[in-house]
């Protein structure tokens, strides 16, 4: 009886396996997954490094100027490529939770001081100017809560020059967003310098400093 059953099982497995329509190996899709996984792992390492730094274990680490804000996912890898105020500009793996935005991998980006907003710069360096004078495209990705959900509602951005808290030149951008906390924007400013931006959305706010070069 056991022999019959074993034979039946072999036959059944073979028949079922042969019914399966096997196409070619989806290698390109697999490569994309591997790349995504690698980015996510890098982001986890970056977050772990930031945590170590935040709790003081990494007190001996030297960080490039500008000094990153506490709690920001900062990498010890040589990814900081500039910036101003308390916000470095980064190249490399962005925080994993921004993957929803599907931003191109080679963009420079900034992380807000609170760690809850990331701006991908489609123009690098940024230039001062408004209207047709500039067009600094920045893709903002925001989230609400600690590790919580995506930001929602319109995104309002206000700004002022970092060294002139009471300066008259102000910036205001309102973006409806694409959902999922993703907000394409044209974030232009009227004068060059380091601008301190405040982002507000339903359920959160963030601050970030951005360097804008001369008019062009």
């Amino acid at each position: 009886m056991t022999r019959d059953l074993e034979d039946a099982l072999r036959a059944e497995f073979t028949a079922r396996a042969q019914q399966l329509t096997c196409g070619a190996a989806p290698y390109p899709a697999l490569r994309r997954r591997i790349a995504r996984r690698r980015r996510a792992l890098t982001a986890e390492l970056v977050a772990a490094a930031a945590l170590v730094s935040a709790v003081g274990i990494g007190a001996g680490l030297t960080l490039d100027h500008p000094r990153p804000s506490p709690g920001v996912a900062v990498t010890t890898a040589p990814l900081a490529v500039g910036g101003c105020g308390s916000t470095p500009l980064y190249r490399g793996a962005p925080p994993a939770w921004t993957a929803v935005a599907q931003a191109p991998a080679d963009l420079t980006y900034v992380v807000s001081s609170e760690g809850n907003a990331v701006g991908f710069l489609f123009v690098d360096p940024l230039h001062a100017g408004t209207g047709t004078g500039s067009q600094n495209k920045i893709l903002w990705v925001v989230r609400s809560g600690g590790a919580g959900g995506a930001g929602s509602g319109p995104l309002a951005i206000t700004g002022r020059p970092l060294d002139s808290p009471a300066a008259g030149a102000q910036l205001r951008v309102d973006e409806p967003g694409l959902g999922g906390g993703v907000y394409p924007s044209i974030t232009d400013v009227p004068a060059p310098g380091c601008w301190h931006l405040t982002l507000n959305w339903a359920g959160g706010s963030a601050t970030v400093d951005l360097p804008y070069g001369p008019f062009r």
Binding site: T2, D4, L5, A8, R16, A17, L20, A25, I34
Partner: protein, 170 residues
């Protein structure tokens, strides 16, 4: 990864995709799930490819990951299951056991019994009776002793016998 290793990994995926997908399918019973399982296993394999390739047993490693991943997924899915008061309909095979349709139903009954086995037991049977691997190799993949493979196989066959041979003989 080194371009040479990357090429080797690609060659491995392209040459072994189909047989590994068949194994994944027999473990899961679902084509889509099998593809997902295999891709996830291959992503993990890629991360350790340098060591795996040196050990000269990449296929054993992938099968190991397939089996372990499937067990993990199966446990998670089981937790999400809602109990139901309705028992799935079973076909009465005693009505006409010589009918071709009844033969088909017997096979189907066997397949459903296979899918009802716990994943480790099912994996032991798939590796033994589909892959035709020796018990020592199955033990290596399942990461257990030879005795465990024998007992898992034996108990699995017992369960299938209940679903299959009692109906065949009735």
């Amino acid at each position: 990864m080194d371009p040479h290793l990357e090429t080797e990994f690609r060659d491995f995926v392209e040459s072994r995709w189909q047989p590994l997908l068949r194994t994944a399918y027999l473990l899961t019973g679902d084509h889509g799930l099998a593809e997902e399982l295999l891709q996830t296993a291959l992503v993990r394999t890629h991360r350790r490819w340098r060591q795996i390739e040196r050990s000269d047993a990449p296929e054993v490693y992938v099968r190991k990951v397939l089996v372990n991943l499937h067990r993990t997924w199966w446990r998670r899915a089981r937790r999400r299951e809602d109990p139901t008061g309705t028992v799935p309909e079973r076909v009465d095979l005693t009505a006409d056991s010589h009918d071709a349709y009844a033969a088909y139903e017997r096979r189907d009954e066997l397949w459903r019994a296979v899918l009802a086995l716990p994943p480790r037991m099912r994996a032991a049977l798939v590796l033994r009776y589909f892959e035709d691997l020796p018990e020592a190799e199955v033990a290596r993949i399942l990461d257990c002793s030879l005795g465990t493979v024998k007992s898992q196989t034996s108990r699995g066959l017992d369960r299938l016998r209940t679903a299959y041979e009692t109906r065949r003989d009735s």
